[in-house]
């Protein structure tokens, strides 16, 4: 087995990977930027190495520094996690050329799937259904206009090299096209260095269904069922579940088969995810393939009993997949909620601060993947994901119930998070009956501004006023320790009269 794995990531996923190494008796090496000097992942790894400044280009995205480090510390494998360099074919090629094993697919597979337009062509050739649209980047606004008239509005403009919702715009009629096209190109250029944009027919109110697959270097392919990730805000997933509440067994068989065909088409090995859009008739269309471990992999691990990271590492080493397709059964229903450092009351903009109090949820059926600890500072340099809460219940109703309890138990002080928002989602009819589409949040949540929380409060106004006043009373008697938080001036004024 590998002697030492270099984990080129941070936050909760770095910790997930380091734990897997420790479990397998492999030495783990972490990396950190100047913004992560003592972040949790550096403390639990066997060793940790400084890369450079807080800007990703100086640290987590710096290919030459990472390759140099891997050689120097004699790491025989590199795990990229998700984001950062995980789908960067140049990086993978550099790793391969340095004689180090990349825990992931070959650079060739990644290249085949890296361009959305090339991937669409590949799917067409392999009988995987795709959304009608262009397979090559659009050169000009004129060309865009012609294409849109061809496939009919509404359409979706997408960055060719994109992901995570950046460079993605919906256009409902020809009047909106110009602004949408320019905005998408600008964002694409800034986020990915290429302003290439392509056009797709917009499937209205679709569900986001994705299939987890895994493949080894011996030509074995397995699927681990589907996940539903339609609870999205600006194309960022917020809550995921497995299995999907909307799939029947027939569609499950079709969609998992399509996913395996997609993986075979690019001669894939490693864990991977094939994303589909599904319309209300359960017709599904290939969206893209993520050639890496996915943020939401815990829900699949929980319902399948398979450790995907362990499989990834074994596969990269040349071992075969440890299970047969027939052995897998769906063990229950799993839900994941992403706890972000962002403020639902303030356009979901990222928040920062020092975590002065952190109470994790616990109990049967609760899994916590977290990147933070008491005392951690959360800055604005990186993805605002703090913690993933996942639950496993015998059925969906129990899973929702467990998630509600876990979210209530999770207390964080010192930074604003989206926990209240997550709890709000779990109470919505469209979520409870499973009918939600990817437009759910935009339709249901956004119009509530600014009174969105009130419907959710379960104390009467008098009860709440009483609670506030008792805390005031307490403060009057015992001066607060204001060292770790700010903005207390007014409160103090009130009490010092």
């Amino acid at each position: 087995m590998f002697k030492k794995i270099l984990v080129v990531n941070r936050g909760e996923i770095a910790i997930r990977l380091i734990r897997a190494c420790r479990e397998m008796g492999i030495k783990s090496a972490a990396v950190y930027s100047s913004a992560d000097t003592f972040s949790l992942h550096t403390r639990i790894a066997d060793e940790s190495h400084f890369l450079g400044g807080a800007a990703p280009s100086e640290s987590y995205l710096n290919i030459s520094k990472i390759i140099e480090l891997a050689k120097r510390i004699e790491a025989d494998a590199i795990h990229p996690g998700y984001g950062f360099l995980s789908e960067n074919a140049d990086f993978i090629q550099a790793v391969e050329e340095a004689g180090i094993t990349f825990i992931g697919p070959s650079s060739k597979s990644v290249k085949m799937m890296g361009s959305k337009t090339a991937a669409r062509e590949l799917m067409i050739n392999n009988n995987v259904p795709i959304v009608p649209g262009t397979t090559t980047p659009i050169d000009s606004l004129d060309e865009a206009k012609k294409i849109c008239e061809g496939i009919g509005y509404p359409v979706l403009l997408k960055a060719s090299a994109g992901g995570g919702g950046k460079g993605m715009k919906k256009v409902f009629n020809s009047d909106e096209l110009e602004e949408g096209f320019l905005s998408a190109s600008r964002e694409a250029k800034k986020a990915f260095g290429s302003s290439d944009v392509y056009i797709e027919k917009l499937i209205q109110n679709p569900k986001h269904i994705e299939v987890q697959i895994i493949a080894d270097k011996h030509g074995n392919y397995r699927h681990l069922f589907e996940r539903e990730c339609s609870v999205q805000r600006r194309h960022q997933k917020v809550i995921e579940e497995a299995p999907s509440p909307s799939l029947d067994q027939e569609t499950r068989e079709k969609i998992t088969l399509a996913a395996i065909n997609a993986a075979k088409a690019c001669n894939y090995h490693n864990a991977g995810t094939i994303e589909f859009l599904m319309d209300s008739d359960r017709k599904f269309y290939f969206l893209e393939m993520n050639t890496r471990l996915q943020v939401e992999h815990p829900v699949t691990e929980l319902i399948s009993g398979i450790d995907l990271v362990r499989e990834q590492i074994n596969i990269a080493f040349g071992k075969k997949i440890s299970f047969n397709q027939e052995e897998l059964v769906i063990l229950g229903h799993s839900i994941e909620a992403r706890v972000y450092a962002e403020d639902p009351d303030n356009n979901f903009l990222p928040t920062s601060g020092k975590i002065v109090y952190h109470r994790l949820p616990s109990g049967p059926g609760v899994r916590v993947d977290r990147g933070i600890d008491n005392g951690s500072f959360v800055g604005l340099n990186y993805d605002p994901l703090l913690t993933k809460l996942s639950v496993l219940g015998k059925n969906r109703e129990i899973a929702i119930s467990k998630m509600n309890i876990a979210l209530s138990d999770y207390l964080i002080a010192g930074i604003t998070t989206n926990i209240s928002f997550l709890k709000w989602i779990l109470k919505q009819d469209k979520f409870l009956d499973g009918s939600y589409s990817i437009n759910f949040l935009e339709e249901e949540f956004i119009p509530l501004i600014p009174d969105k929380w009130k419907s959710f409060q379960n104390l009467s106004d008098v009860e709440a006023a009483a609670l506030f006043s008792v805390l005031l009373r307490n403060k009057k008697k015992n001066k607060f320790d204001n060292k770790s938080q700010n903005n207390y001036s007014k409160w103090s004024e009130l009490l010092n009269e």
Binding site: Y357, W453, D461, L467, F468, N487
Partner: protein, 166 residues
């Protein structure tokens, strides 16, 4: 001063502090038990109900709490402050001003409204680039744009006033 006014969901409640573990709210006396777990996290009991309370924020008399994980906010004033505010309000002839502030540092990419234009609650007013994303800043109030304090392609600090709405 032992008299305070707590406004929650636009309803005002009169609080009078008593001695010991009791307060009077709207003329009704209630007793409580309180444990300060660590300065930010409190446990509070009224009768048989126990609440875990996390202090989220407080500034200018606006206090927000997570009570058993659910978000509440209130405006807290002493009776002195209340009278002062009343006077201010009268002198300003009850014109309601709202400032739309930048929620984070970034670059103003586009300003979607002009001075004097009408704007509705939730309508987009500015596109701010931050975190490599284009973030749409929405108006937190309806009214007329009285003043625009930023310009396109210029950076803004967190908390900077973008617009004033009347």
């Amino acid at each position: 001063m032992n008299n305070y006014f707590v406004t929650i969901n636009d309803k005002e409640h009169h609080i009078r502090y008593e001695s010991g573990n009791s307060v009077e709210i709207n003329g009704k006396k209630i007793t409580f038990e309180l444990a300060d777990q660590n300065g930010f996290h409190f446990s509070l009991r009224f009768g048989n109900e126990t609440y875990d309370i996390i202090k989220v924020q407080e500034s200018n008399g606006n206090v927000s709490l997570l009570i058993d994980g659910i978000y509440y906010e209130a405006h807290v004033q002493s009776d002195l402050e209340k009278r002062a505010a009343q006077l201010m309000k009268n002198s300003k002839k009850q014109i309601h001003h709202v400032e739309v502030r930048s929620p984070m540092p970034g670059m103003v990419l586009k300003i979607l409204k002009t001075k004097g234009e009408e704007v509705k609650l939730g309508e987009s007013v500015v596109i701010l680039e931050a975190m490599k994303m284009e973030n749409v800043i929405k108006s937190s109030s309806s009214g007329i744009i009285k003043e625009i304090l930023v310009s396109e392609n210029n950076p803004v600090e967190k908390g900077a006033i973008l617009f004033k709405i009347e």
